[in-house]
């Protein structure tokens, strides 16, 4: 297992290197320049500014310089956001985005599993119908629509939560719900389908024949075996929650990182684009690594290293 994880970490850096290189050259192909007032600058001024940011060099030299800095953990300074170092920029804006993203993933996955399990155990009853209805709503309502609806009713009309504020845990509840709807719906659908299958399998019948109560049959045998497809979709789901969070952050005025990402692209803020891309990639690779490790923990047939003599 340790060897496997070390191998994966090596691949993580390799992947990051490739992503950083690709992004660097693609970014240079973006039309426009980082300087919004370029037209009003004299050629000499422009030359000075470009030299200051190292943009007068050939793209290849810029690439080598950037990668050199990256190796030392230096992501450069932003062109747009008050000349701040990109690391500091990410550092400040990261916490709120990560908080609502992680909360939404946890809430969505846990409640999705519960909802799907209830639907499967009470198959073809009103509980199943209700669970299916809720999960289809979660799947089909876009997060920004849900966000606005939650904001209007729970915050504006009934005043249970703040409309758009970022200070304590309470202010994170509405954005979390808005973001959790999609993972909840997805997980519940997958969970129900798989668990219906599992509940009719031979080993569940054997578990009953051993004298397990219905509750124990579910908790000791059915749940774990139903989780495998759910784990599979956690990775892609984390991607959509993280990217989907930008709009929701905007609606609730959360000082998250999504806004910077969009702005950095429209203004050709090269160091910020690079920094955020590398950072998001790193995060997603980590999520996939965790998913792969979870697989092995849940299903011994997928376990790596010492596994599989048939």
């Amino acid at each position: 297992m340790t060897k496997y994880i070390l191998k994966r970490i090596f691949y993580l850096f390799l992947t990051l290197f490739i992503i950083a290189s690709l992004t660097f050259f693609l970014m240079k192909l973006l039309p426009g320049t980082p300087f919004s007032n370029q037209n009003r600058m004299s050629p000499d001024q422009l030359k000075i500014v470009k030299a200051q940011y190292g943009l007068d060099q050939s793209v290849f030299v810029q690439y080598v310089r950037y990668m050199g800095g990256l190796l030392q953990g230096n992501l450069g300074t932003s062109f747009q956001f008050n000349n701040e170092p990109v690391t500091a920029l990410i550092g400040q804006r990261l916490a709120p985005s990560m908080q609502i993203g992680a909360q939404a993933m946890v809430v969505g996955t846990v409640f999705g599993i519960l909802l799907g399990a209830v639907a499967a155990i009470r198959k073809n009853t009103w509980a199943d119908t209700l669970a299916t209805f809720v999960s289809i709503l979660g799947l089909s309502i876009p997060s920004f629509v849900l966000a606005v609806l939650l904001q209007f009713y729970l915050a504006y009309k009934w005043r249970i939560f703040p409309v758009a504020l970022w200070d304590n845990f309470q202010s994170s509840i509405l954005p979390t719900i808005a973001l959790a709807a999609l993972p909840l719906g997805t997980v519940a659908r997958f969970m129900r389908t798989e668990m219906v299958d599992v509940m009719s399998s031979d080993y569940i019948e054997l578990a009953k024949a051993k004298g397990n109560s219905s509750w124990k049959v579910v908790t000791k045998h059915a749940l774990r075996n139903s989780l495998i497809p759910v784990v599979t979709i956690i990775g892609p789901m984390a991607v959509s929650v993280m990217t989907g969070s930008m709009v929701v952050e905007n609606i609730f005025s959360i000082p998250g990182i999504g806004e910077q990402f969009v702005k950095s692209i429209t203004t050709n803020d090269y160091p910020t684009i690079m920094g955020l891309t590398i950072f998001y990639s790193f995060l997603l690779i980590i999520v996939y690594l965790i998913v792969d490790i979870l697989y092995g923990l849940i299903d011994p047939r997928i376990r790596l290293g010492n596994g599989g003599k048939e």
Partner: protein, 348 residues
């Protein structure tokens, strides 16, 4: 002999989209302490449903509409869910057909074998696992101590069936129900599993109900045999009674379609023509009548009662009625009667 289990007039119905299927239509039998009763019949005859009714492990659309299942005189059909949980895996346990799918793929086999002990007895996890290891050795898993933490996919089909058997016997059940335990295994492994069951029966003194459609397997393990057709028993008796003095034309058909050592190499194997009746609308008379070359008018109209052939041998066919005309069974069956006489039996 002690009757430890007695099934009386069992009826099981299944609710389906097409209507109610009367899958079991009045089954009566008993099980003596320490014996092996085999129930044979073709697919869909109701063998599995009959034994699953005992443990009440039926599909959700099944209802036991009538009957009694007496375990030491107590009707199991009157017990609540918790009382049934206490019996399952403890007093009455079950071995399933397909060892490839009947073990939980995500649990170590040590834990799976120890599970019934932890459910039913007040034992520590450590003691339960120790006992599981002993039982795994008993069923012939090599080096059980090292393999306790392995998962089902790390075992072969035959070994997995041994593990399933270990789970069934770990709590010394009084009754072991084996639902076609050898069907999914290849022939050499089948023989090993049958030997193992016989050996275990002697060691722990359990009674076995053995379901199969393979008459060859029956001869190897059973004390008594019941032949089942379309949701009813048609004939039951000792192994010798059924194999060498069969009376019901369906039993004749089954035995005649089984190749024996005397079967000529070039001969075509016999089969029973036709298909079993649709139990959505069960026939009024003998369900086998439409496929029966010896059927009489009354077979179509009226269900035959059980006629006693010898002390423990009964068959439900009108051919045994005193007024029935004498018929000559197929040649293969007449050969069997000859053997029965040599065995000292009193063949008809």
């Amino acid at each position: 002999m002690d009757k430890i289990l007695e099934v009386k007039d069992l009826h099981v119905d299944f609710d389906t989209y097409n209507g109610v299927v009367h899958a079991i239509r009045g089954v009566n039998f008993h099980l003596n302490a320490g014996e092996t009763l085999a129930i044979v019949g073709e697919s869909g005859s109701g063998k599995s449903i009959t034994v699953r009714s005992i443990l009440q492990l039926l599909a959700s659309n099944a209802t036991i509409s009538k009957g009694e299942i007496l375990y030491h005189g107590d009707d199991l059909l009157q017990k609540n869910a918790k009382e049934m949980d206490n019996l399952r895996g403890n007093k009455i346990s079950m071995i399933f057909q397909d060892p490839m799918t009947s073990l939980d793929p995500t649990m170590t086999i040590g834990k799976q074998v120890a599970e019934p002990l932890l459910i039913h007895n007040n034992v520590s996890k450590k003691d339960a696992l120790k006992r599981a290891e002993e039982v795994l050795r008993l069923v012939g898993i090599p080096n059980p101590a090292a393999r306790m933490n392995d998962y089902p996919h790390q075992f072969s089909g035959g070994q997995r069936q041994r593990i399933v058997i270990a789970i069934a016997i770990v709590d010394y059940p009084e009754i072991l129900i084996a639902d076609e335990p050898t069907t999914a295994l290849d022939v050499t492994v089948q023989a090993q599993i049958i030997d193992l069951l016989r050996e275990l029966q002697q060691k722990i003194g359990t009674s076995i109900i053995f379901i199969t459609h393979d008459l060859g397997v029956v001869a190897g393990i059973a004390d008594r045999v019941a032949v089942m057709y379309a949701g009813r028993f048609v004939e039951y008796g000792s192994v010798d009674d059924i194999f060498f003095n069969p009376q019901h034309p369906y039993t004749w058909g089954l035995l005649d379609s089984m190749p024996t050592l005397d079967t000529n190499e070039d001969a075509r194997l016999n089969s029973i023509p036709g298909t079993p009746p649709n139990l959505l609308d069960p026939p009024a008379g003998d369900a086998f009548a439409p496929r029966n070359a010896y059927a009489m008018q009354i077979d179509e109209e009226q269900q035959p009662p059980f006629f006693q052939v010898s002390k423990h041998h009964f068959a439900a066919t009108w051919l045994l009625h005193p007024d029935a005309p004498k018929v000559t069974p197929p040649a293969g069956i007449l050969n069997r009667y000859e053997k029965f006489k040599k065995l000292g039996g009193n063949a008809k």
